[in-house]
């Protein structure tokens, strides 16, 4: 790792940040979340805290801009330079700028959060089917009002879950109209406009009036990008027009013809040769989270690293399950020291600091865990700040969330307050910090915990294990058990990778005929879910911060956020 000359760093640990504007590429809530997660990357390993300000001057001012955006280092259109940030200090120092000629996503194509509809703001599910046709983008099919929509599950006809996609006909962002939708046509400088325009601005952002006359009312907002819109070029925000003519030849899809850089483009009118209107076709985009985490490293005082896998390596590459490289940790801890306070993964047994109260105890009854009375919650460990859990399961009727040596629980009623964090080692001393999967056997009330290739069985406070999962008949090729679903009494499905096995709990053996492919039996859920559990009669499959809920007829009836729907943050 490398720091800037003079080891520039903040002289305080409570660093503030402010998001000055948003990209039209993603919903503001998704952008807020990406930035918050990017800061968390650094606060997890240092004593730094990051507080968001909504006005005034923050240490780190974050903004999106294009080309010449107000500092001496202009951006360069799509690709090439993605972002830059300044080392800690006053004024421009510490600020982070993101090139809005890039297509900002979460790194895997359009990240489209819906509004309205009946899916509670869930993300679009691409592809989805509607009346026998498969859609990979939002569509206006089936509607007469031209509003683009998408299904939030794989099959709209079956699940009927949908939401509306970003559109200027639905809302705007920024500006001074409180997110009101565009009004078309509108008048600007005595000219009439039927669509969003960049006229009158020199920053390339598309805007519209939210009343029929801007000259008179001065009300405006910026237009969100549709997922089908081209990026950059000279028609930003317009959809491709297929077929289109280029150099006399007709094209029905995006092409790299005419370009030396191999980038795919399309015409936004039927004839490029005549109209010269074009833009780049939407691609996977760049992960705002990853780029922001890198830039915030600069804003905290780290220069570029020469280690290819380090976050502070200057080039972008997408990684699915990001974790901070040792080089980055050593760099940031050189500047700010280690994170103080309780170790988030404490494997040591609980040692009470005060003598326990004398009196009756039921510790001799192995069926009654006594630890709930000794485990004291640590409210400073906030489950709402976590993006994904090691495992989620129901124990004694309460939903439990496990992460890095801690757990939180919510009562079965669902509206009860989230309790925790509690230390795993206090309640189940033999368990490691990371639990990949867990389930409670409905017949015997025994608790099964899986971590890596080992498992433990708790009956009250008495313990069996650890034992190898091979003893259950699972193959030695599987690295961990990622989920467990009760199938009636005495049978549990164990998930790993894209497959699952059925465990006969009484016989402690995997049934014949397994493994089976997850997507062959549970269609419409991610085949790489990292948490699978049963809750209130539904099956839940989690990936990252999202869950897919499946009913007993194996229909996905809901997709949502773990944070909001299950943790109730």
């Amino acid at each position: 790792y490398k720091t800037f000359d003079g080891d520039l760093k903040w002289d305080h640990n409570d660093v503030t940040y402010r998001i000055l504007n948003y990209s039209p590429d993603m919903d503001s809530a998704v952008i807020d979340d990406a930035f918050a997660r990017a800061f968390k990357v650094w606060s997890d390993v240092t004593p730094l805290t990051f507080t968001r300000l909504f006005d005034g001057t923050a240490d780190i001012m974050i903004s999106f801009g294009k080309r010449d955006h107000g500092d001496p280092y202009p951006f360069d259109g799509k690709d090439g330079l993605l972002a830059h940030a300044y080392p800690p200090g006053e004024g421009l120092q510490g600020d982070a700028h993101f090139d809005d000629d890039e297509y900002w996503t979460l790194g895997k194509g359009p990240a489209v959060k819906t509004r309205y509809g009946n899916a509670d703001g869930a993300m679009c599910h691409f592809p989805f089917t509607f009346e026998g046709k498969t859609y990979t983008t939002c569509t206006t099919d089936g509607r007469t009002d031209d509003l683009p929509w998408c299904a939030t599950t794989a099959d709209y006809s079956r699940d009927k879950k949908y939401g509306f996609c970003p559109s200027e006909l639905l809302y705007t962002f920024g500006g001074n109209a409180d997110g009101a939708k565009c009004v078309f046509p509108f008048v600007f400088l005595e000219e009439e406009y039927d669509s969003c325009t960049t006229e009158g601005r020199n920053d390339g952002y598309r805007w519209c009036a939210t009343t029929d006359n801007f000259d008179q009312d001065k009300k405006f907002g910026f237009c969100p990008s549709r997922d089908t819109a081209v990026i950059g070029g000279n028609s930003e925000g317009e959809p491709c027009h297929f077929p289109f003519v280029f150099l006399g030849k007709e094209y029905n899809s995006c092409t790299s013809e005419g370009r030396g850089d191999g980038k795919l483009w399309c015409s936004t009118t039927d004839n490029y040769d005549e109209d010269k209107k074009w833009g780049f076709c939407p691609d996977q985009g760049y992960s705002l989270f990853l780029v922001a985490a890198h830039e915030f490293g600069h804003a905290l005082g780290l220069d570029h690293s020469s280690i290819r896998d380090a976050l502070m390596y200057p080039m972008y590459s997408y990684v699915e399950d990001f974790s901070l490289h040792r080089d980055d940790i050593e760099g940031i801890q050189y500047l700010y020291g280690r994170r103080t306070g309780p170790d988030p993964t404490p494997p040591q047994p609980n040692t009470p600091t005060t003598a326990p109260n004398p009196g009756p105890t039921d510790s001799t009854d192995p069926t009654k865990p006594t630890t709930t009375t000794t485990a004291r919650p640590d409210p400073t460990n906030d489950a709402c700040k976590l993006d994904k859990f090691d495992t989620i399961t129901v124990i004694e009727g309460e939903l439990h969330f496990f992460k890095d040596g801690n757990y939180w629980k919510r009562s079965r009623e669902g509206d009860g307050e989230l309790q925790g964090s509690f230390s795993i080692s206090q309640r189940w001393p033999a368990l490691p910090a990371v639990i990949d999967s867990a389930f409670e056997d409905l017949l015997t009330k025994k608790l099964y915990f899986f971590s890596g290739t080992r498992f433990w069985v708790y009956t009250g406070q008495s313990l069996l294990g650890p034992r190898s999962i091979e003893k259950l008949g699972l193959p030695n090729t599987i690295q961990k058990v990622e989920g467990a679903l009760q199938r009636g009494k005495g049978k549990v499905l164990l998930f790993s990778g894209a497959s699952f096995w059925r465990l006969d709990v009484k016989a402690q053996k995997i049934d014949n005929g397994y493994p089976k492919y997850t997507d062959a039996i549970f269609g419409g859920v991610p085949s790489d879910a990292h948490d699978v559990f049963q809750y209130k009669g539904h099956m839940y499959f989690c990936r990252d911060q999202f869950y897919w809920r499946m009913n007993s007829r194996r229909q996905v009836d809901r997709v949502g956020y773990v944070k909001y729907d299950l943790l109730k943050c």
């Binding site: 090439g80 993605l82 830059h84 950059g232 070029g233 030396g260 890198h294 220069d303 020469s306 200057p314």
Partner: protein, 89 residues
């Protein structure tokens, strides 16, 4: 066997990425990220040699330090990246 298409390069309006030769691209890259710079001290002006700059860039990127504008170096220069210079000015 398909006959290779004759590719035609077009200047797209509003496209600020100009078609550059490999040498031009390398020079722009090395200057932009601080590897190649004119140092002015007390009236003395010196240009760091391109080969030396390339070696420094290759070292930073974990590439083989050939000092030549080889294929992997050129590919690295075309990849998306952070705009903060690698060599502090």
């Amino acid at each position: 066997w398909s006959r290779p298409l004759k590719s035609i390069s077009v200047t797209f309006p509003g496209d600020i990425i100009k078609n550059m030769t490999d040498t031009e691209l390398a020079e722009t890259y090395l200057k932009r990220f601080g590897y190649l710079e004119t140092v002015q001290r007390s009236g003395f002006q010196s240009m760091v040699s391109t080969s030396k700059a390339l070696k420094e860039m290759q070292k930073q990127m974990g590439l083989e330090e050939t000092g030549q504008l080889d294929k992997s170096t050129l590919e690295a220069m075309k990849r998306p990246r952070c705009g903060v210079p690698d060599v502090a000015n």
